[in-house]
Subunit: 136 residues, 2 copies
DNA sequence: ACTTTATTCAACCACGCAGTTGACTAAGGC
DNA sequence: GCCTTAGTCAACTGCGTGGTTGAATAAAGT
């Protein structure tokens, strides 16, 4: 359907699902247990769990007629890795910018060397349908 | 419309938008620059930027007829904080579980004390529409 | 003033999703 | 064997969203 990262983000975009994840971080639970606090039908919660499941955030085993839901915390790393990557990149850029501004401020009338425009290394998971791209 | 956390996650659930964020981490860009690589209309990209904007992930200023888009990296912290919280909670739980299992293994026929079911402290950002019905 | 460039607004469409209700399957308990 | 418990599947609905095209706005350029 879509890449896992998209599915994980989409799964967590829903407050009910985030709440479910929060509660699963405390203890594995059955569908009924999970559904109890919410004002929606059991089936709705079952659907939420399905979404969480095929995003990889939770797994389900079997215990008699119960299907205990278990949080797969390792998937979080997928997100944090993505987030941290671009957060850092952005932060580094500001540091570079600060340096440039400082330099500009230091010797204003001096030579203006361009600060080697860092080539945007493409993200494997990211770039979707790209096109011809006319040269700069 | 919804809480910011939901909006941020929803915004990043789309590969095109993630790609835009990735590229903005390298440099601020105009809408046209951002739209160029994708195989969709300019208006579609404009819409994506709107989504990113009211999730707080980007901001737009004005430079003549251009509206340069800028990545607000601080919003990432909102997500990482949420993620880390439950990730840690889950990890701690496994450590506790390990400890219990170890203890059980150590003295098998001893007294079986129930391991104080930790009360799920509710997350302020999480718990959506809770209910009364369906008593225990 | 007229045109071009950059971007948004508006109306529309297809699709997916969160929710519903009702029927179904699966596994015990009696 | 039959009822209860636990959960899913199926069909339907309303709404949000990503995409489209066409018109409108904003600020230069000439």
């Amino acid at each position: 359907m879509a890449d896992q990262l998209s599915k994980v983000f989409a799964a967590l975009a829903d407050p009910t699902r985030r709440d479910i994840v929060a509660r699963l971080s405390v203890a594995d639970s059955t569908v009924n247990e999970l559904a109890e606090p919410y004002d929606v039908s059991l089936q709705a919660v079952s659907k939420h769990l399905k979404v969480l499941e095929d995003s990889g955030l939770v797994s389900r085993t079997r215990d008699a007629q119960r299907r205990p839901v278990h949080l797969e915390d390792n998937v979080f790393d997928l997100m944090t890795k993505w987030i941290e990557r671009y957060k850092q990149q952005a932060e580094e850029r500001y540091q570079r910018l600060d340096a440039v501004l400082e330099a500009m401020n230091a010797d204003e009338e001096a030579n203006d060397s361009d600060p080697s425009a860092a080539s945007a290394k493409e993200s494997e998971a990211a770039s979707p349908h790209r096109r011809s791209r006319k040269g700069a």
